[in-house]
């Protein structure tokens, strides 16, 4: 988080001196006050809803918010897009169920343990996925869901196979609405822990390294950031939180089925929500989950009889990727800025665009290395070598 007063004081020297912040300010109390109102709204939600159905939809949206935020620990901080996070969700869910079934553990102990087991499983997966930069990560992430789908379908004795697995209720004899209420708060608590972790990581050196990886991995590594270890750590955090979200879902929902736990679509929702909200912001994935989750629930309830929701998801994802890859928050911000009283000179530019620009600048300067920018290429080739 930037310090605004610093900006005010120090800007103004260079010819092209731009500023990180815009011009207008807000009263200092608005932020905590806004936050307090939002928190109060969330906490009062179960009391405000007109019926149990809306409450159950709220639980679903809360679980989406958890998964999208968890996803963003990897996808947001490092820019590595995982389409297979449903794998961790499913593993967490099944892990919880199986631990309760086979070891008769206390449900929430099983839940906690299940997340830790996923953490351990993720280590080799992460190492393999991060061997080759970019492409292999995507391939492994999708493959991991597909393989787990197969395994959980085939390994009937252990997972219940295609027949699914029934997870006993942690709170027996509760009426359904009360059950929803408890789990709404549990999901919100889990989300709060994630957001807190996010906040700590975001301002830490670790977080600075991760963000550097997102911007320019080669450069980060040249500056001494142990990129693989950092990526792996982010992946582990992300996977574990996703698993906990999945485990919580299992305790709430009760019936697990490989096709729905290990579904590509669930992973796609996480990506869509996080990207739509904006992965660079603490609350971005949460906003995305609230918007997309509510819309999905509404669409499915109202227009469930077609595959329209698939088309809708696809188009929305395409639009986000093509036109606002940083999410609605920056997009809305840009709009606000344009409409706002003061024009700002901030240009959002990526490392590669900058490289292009610099290449052009260097070419004008006359002496670009004639081997066709082998500096850039050399490092690109290095990727494939999988150091």
């Amino acid at each position: 988080m930037r310090n605004a007063s610093d900006t005010e004081e120090r800007v103004g020297g260079g010819v092209d001196a731009p500023r990180a912040g815009g011009g207008f300010t807000l009263p200092g109390w608005s932020r905590p006050a806004g936050l307090a109102v939002a928190v109060a709204l969330v906490l009062l939600f179960p009391e405000l809803v007109p019926n149990a159905y809306v409450l159950s939809a709220g639980v679903i949206v809360a679980s989406y918010a958890c998964t999208a935020t968890a996803w963003s620990f990897m996808g947001g901080f490092t820019g590595y897009v995982s389409l297979g996070h449903a794998a961790f969700f499913g593993l967490g869910a099944y892990g919880t169920g199986i631990l309760i079934r086979d070891l008769s553990l206390q449900p929430f102990l099983a839940w906690l343990l299940s997340g830790l087991i996923v953490l351990v499983i993720t280590i080799p997966i992460g190492i393999a996925a991060l061997r080759v930069r970019g492409a292999s990560f995507v391939i492994v992430s999708i493959s991991f869901v597909l393989i787990l789908l197969l395994v959980f379908q085939a390994w009937e004795d252990f997972t219940g196979g295609a027949n699914g697995l029934n997870v006993p209720r942690p709170f027996a004899d509760l009426y359904r609405p009360d059950h929803h209420r408890i789990f709404f708060y549990l999901f919100v608590a889990l989300l709060a822990v994630m957001l807190l972790t996010w906040w700590v990581v975001d301002r830490s050196r670790f977080g600075a390294g991760l963000k550097a990886i997102r911007e320019d991995e080669d450069k980060a590594e040249a500056l001494g950031v142990p990129t693989r270890d950092y990526k792996l750590a982010a992946y582990l955090i992300s996977a574990t939180f996703t698993a906990w979200a999945g485990g919580m879902y299992a305790l709430w929902f009760g019936d697990l089925d490989p096709i729905f736990q290990f579904s590509i679509l669930l992973g796609a929702y996480m990506v869509l929500m996080a990207l739509l909200g904006g992965v660079r912001h603490l609350l971005g994935p949460l906003v995305g989950a609230v918007v997309v989750g509510t819309a999905l629930e509404y669409f499915k309830l109202e227009y469930g009889d077609t595959q329209l929701h698939l088309v809708f998801t696809a188009v929305l994802l395409g639009v986000v990727v093509l036109f606002m890859p940083d999410g609605v928050i920056p997009a809305a911000g840009a709009l606000l800025r344009r409409l706002g009283p003061q024009q700002s000179s901030i240009r959002e530019i990526t490392a590669e665009e900058l490289l292009e620009r610099n290449r052009a600048a260097a070419a004008v300067g006359g002496d670009a290395d004639g081997r066709g920018g082998s500096g850039v290429d050399g490092s690109r080739d290095g990727e494939e070598d999988g150091r």
């Binding site: 207008f24 679903i60 949206v61 019936d255 911000g333």
Partner: protein, 405 residues
């Protein structure tokens, strides 16, 4: 600072938008109409089970038509509220949640496919609703401890082939098939049918030489077929839905495998089955819980009405759905109420104690909701599917050994 403000603004916008959405879907659903019995049901109208799902929908619609022609339930007009669950378990639960809590339906009917029955039955159970269902035939449905659940068909899946097993085992030792190959979809219903038969034949002394299982989304059956072919089994049993049976048969034909007896669940009753496997249907066996030719009085009525509405004779899924309606209607008329709350308990109690006349004959249930009957066995004879077992009700002679396909 601007960034913060931007963030706060868009966050607030998103939150209020979603609150609006949530309240939008929670408007009064009943429209205050008290003269209607609203019945909620969730069906797979899209997704893996959309075909049978639509069949169930037609069956329910036929039943509603029939009830309303006769003056409705308790004098109130019957209306259906159908939601699509896309064959997804998480959806089916949300659907029943919405039907009961949001749309405040008076009664619910069950969805299609065993794997969806269990989660949705749990929702109904936890809201205290009566849950009569047309599709959850697998044994595990009845092992969940549900007290409100009733299966509206003559027999649970494990017993579907009972008549066939009886017949085979009644043959002299040297005429019987000696070896059996089994391939089943990993689906509770399909498995229960095939494994019911497999276990009876094994107990009867036949040798099970192939026992394969494949996930529901399998499309490549060449190696399963190769294995069955290599075993040279006398008899092949398929625990199938529809397309998987077609694929297995085509692959078996590609390998020139000729069994003496071939039994597949569900698929052979499909009207497109014959064309799909190249019209080589002669001798293929399948169990069914329903035949349009059954003589029960309400069935004659049903077939006539169904033909009038849809132009074709009803199939098993349609019949089971219609039966579901009949069962619930019987309880409602007998108890004299149809709304949420304590009434549901009385409906459940009544069904546990009484027998109901339906289009598939009289039905009664044990404590877990299992119907206590058996299925008929049908077979393609002279190009048409006919009831062949049990012998006394058969429309044709059981054809054995099966001609080449």
């Amino acid at each position: 600072m601007a960034k913060r403000r931007r963030r706060a603004v868009s966050w607030a916008a998103a939150l209020s938008a979603s609150v609006l959405l949530v309240t939008a879907c929670s408007g009064d659903p009943r429209g205050g109409d008290e003269d209607v019995v609203l019945i909620g049901v969730s069906l797979p109208l899209t997704g893996d089970f959309s075909e049978p799902g639509k069949g169930v929908q037609r069956g329910y619609e036929a039943w509603v038509e029939s009830v309303n022609r006769d003056g409705g339930l308790l004098g109130r007009r019957v209306e259906l509220k159908i939601l699509d669950d896309q064959s997804a378990a998480d959806r089916v639960v949300q659907d029943y949640e919405a039907l009961i809590a949001l749309h405040e339906v008076d009664l619910v009917f069950g969805p299609f496919s065993t794997r969806l029955v269990i989660p949705s039955a749990r929702v109904a159970e936890e809201y205290g609703m009566l849950f009569v269902e047309p599709a959850g035939a697998a044994n595990e449905v009845f092992e969940q401890g549900f007290e409100n659940l009733f299966y509206a068909a003559p027999a649970i899946a494990n017993d579907h082939y009972d008549h066939l097993a009886d017949h085979i085992l009644s043959l002299p030792e040297d005429e019987r098939p000696q070896t059996v190959a089994v391939a089943s979809m990993d689906d509770p219903f399909a498995q229960s049918t095939a494994y019911g038969l497999r276990d009876r034949l094994r107990e009867g002394g036949l040798e099970i030489v192939v026992d394969e299982e494949y996930p529901p989304n399998t499309t490549d059956f060449s190696s399963i077929a190769a294995k069955i072919n290599a075993s040279g089994a006398d008899m092949v049993v398929g625990g199938t839905q529809y397309q998987d049976a077609v694929n297995i048969i085509v692959q078996l034909r590609q390998l020139d495998y000729q069994p003496k007896l071939a039994a597949f669940s569900t698929a052979p009753t499909n009207p497109e089955f014959s064309a799909a496997i190249g019209s080589r249907t002669e001798g293929i066996v399948s169990p069914t819980g329903y035949t349009p030719d059954a003589p029960y009085p309400s069935n004659v009525e049903f077939v006539e009405l169904y033909r009038e509405m849809f132009g074709t004779p009803p199939a098993e899924d349609e019949a089971n759905a219609y039966t579901t309606g009949q069962v619930v209607a019987a309880a409602v008329e007998a108890v004299g109420c149809a709304e949420q709350g304590e009434c549901q308990e009385r409906l459940v109690d009544w069904l546990h104690e009484n027998e109901v006349e339906t289009i598939v004959g009289p039905l009664s249930w044990d404590g877990q909701g299992r119907p206590e009957g058996a299925h008929l066995i049908q077979q393609y004879v002279d190009g048409e599917i006919r009831i062949v077992l049990p012998g006394e009700t058969g429309e044709a002679e059981f054809l054995y050994p099966k001609p080449e396909w």
